[in-house]
């Protein structure tokens, strides 16, 4: 085999390997916020695509979403724990307004964990 042949084989192998690597290992951290009410998915929002803050009213709760995350702005529930919780901004984060049955979950487009123990 000549040097040129070896070079062709190596280039070919590298191209195939790069295609394989990009397809299966390229990480994606784009986050999606899912809003549930009483067990039903009501909204799915890709956070990175938001140019400005988006608000949503669900079951007595006002929710806000932006590139940084999601949060409860206000709620008609008694304790307001959901509002005090702050912003969810990482994959696996979950927050609920229990009295109103409203749940927000954050997940990455490509999940790194199946669940979070807390």
């Amino acid at each position: 085999m000549k040097k040129g042949d070896v070079a062709i084989i190596l280039v070919f192998a590298c191209v195939c390997f790069l295609l394989f690597f990009k397809r299966f290992f390229a990480p994606s951290q784009s986050l999606v916020a899912c809003v549930w009410q009483n067990g039903t998915l009501v909204e799915k929002i890709e956070l990175e695509s938001l140019e400005k803050e988006k608000t949503l009213t669900v079951g007595g709760c006002e929710l806000a979403f932006d590139k940084n995350g999601a949060r409860f702005v206000s709620s008609n529930c008694k304790d307001g724990l959901c509002v005090k919780k702050g912003t969810l901004s990482h994959s696996g984060d979950t927050m609920a307004c229990v009295p109103n049955g409203v749940v927000i979950t954050i997940k990455a487009q490509k999940e790194n964990a199946d669940a979070v123990a807390y």
Binding site: I9, C34, D79, H90, M95, A96, V98, N112, A113, A115
Partner: protein, 345 residues
């Protein structure tokens, strides 16, 4: 002669180029083919996810295989039905009846209470489901949470004694004035119920979270990779200390960040030491237990938190369970057979 030689050289050259081309093509096919086979093994089965509120907390059910949407609905119903039996907040629940002085006959609850009492015995009373009189004084997670007076705690503590919570066959009763609170084990217990249900279905795998207590069931994908359960960073609610990898099993965490209030610069958290009536001060801020039983994973995580690292690890050894301990300096140590990937610092 030289013409013949030249001809021979040209045909050898041609043959070599053809062979090289064929070799490249075969190599490319093998590489891409391997990638496709690898991908098909890593591909998850069909799945669906449901998030709902049950047992006063967030339930997330992700199931893989057949009829997953309907399975998820049933999972949430299962959990709510269990809450109707074990919650002291539910007026006619079995536990409320026990607390009101009645004798209740229920084999599943009897087994659960026996298991709790066994943990109480093995932890020398650090964990005790008759903690109700004390936990209601503190009121964690309610609008009534407060720092009780010393005299109140001492008086309530007299009613805390797992030995007077009697289980005889399927019959359960407690002493007068006692108050059973299964809050420390309810979520793990719910995971046990869910597992029993899943075994009767066609789902190939599931990961279910009941307020952060986790059931990892069946296969994650065709390759049978381990389930990845991230563990909350006790001092950064948006971060993780690492990931526990399990084939199947239960994962529960007890931490001082879940329910607490601060008064005069002191944090009072909900993980009470049943021997003192006060929040445990064992040098730990989080314990995660991996176990083959949900109720036990919950009970052990609480007991280990109260006992501290050394005694907690001895307790885990008795049950063949494993754990991840985080101390107040945020040092992380593991114990037992646990596959734990530490998160990047």
């Amino acid at each position: 002669m030289s013409k013949k030689l030249a001809k021979t050289k040209t045909s050898v050259e041609k043959r070599r180029k053809i062979l090289t081309g064929v070799f490249c093509f075969v190599a490319a096919v093998l590489i891409i083919g391997s990638a496709l086979v690898y991908n098909s093994f890593k591909k998850e089965y069909d799945s669906s996810t449901k998030n709902a509120v049950a047992m006063g907390t967030v339930v997330t059910a992700k199931t893989f295989g057949k009829n997953t949407a309907s399975v998820n609905e049933t999972i949430v119903s299962c959990i709510q039905q269990l809450d109707d039996v074990i919650s002291w907040r539910v007026k006619d629940s079995a536990v409320s009846k026990i607390n009101s002085g009645q004798t209740v006959r229920l084999s599943s609850l009897a087994s659960a209470i026996n298991a709790c009492n066994e943990v109480s015995k093995n932890s020398n009373g650090a964990f005790d489901v008759t903690i109700g009189p004390v936990s209601t004084l503190w009121g964690f997670g309610t609008e009534n949470e407060r720092l009780p007076k010393k005299a109140e705690i001492e008086s309530a503590l007299k009613k805390v004694d797992y030995k007077t919570l009697k289980v005889s066959g399927t019959r359960i009763s407690c002493a007068k004035g006692q108050f059973v609170d299964l809050g420390a084990v309810g979520k793990g217990y719910a995971c046990d119920m869910v597992k029993q249900y899943l075994e009767k279905t066609d789902v190939s795998g599931a990961v279910v979270s009941v307020g952060g207590s986790i059931l990892a069931y069946g296969k994650r994908n065709k390759a049978g990779d381990k389930w990845r359960i991230a563990v909350r960073d006790p001092r950064n609610e948006n971060g993780f200390i690492g990931t526990v990898l399990v084939k199947e099993g239960f994962v529960s965490t007890s931490g001082d960040y879940e329910k607490y209030f601060e008064k005069d610069g002191v944090r009072y958290h909900h993980l009470l030491d049943a021997r003192t009536g006060y929040p445990a001060n064992s040098g730990l801020i989080s314990v995660t237990v991996v176990c083959s039983n949900g109720l036990l994973s919950d009970a052990l995580s609480t007991a280990c938190f109260v006992l501290g690292k050394e005694e907690g690890q001895k307790l885990l050894e008795k049950y063949g369970a494993a754990g991840v301990f985080v101390d107040s300096s945020q040092n992380v140590t593991t114990f037992g057979d646990v596959d734990f990937e530490r998160a990047a610092q």
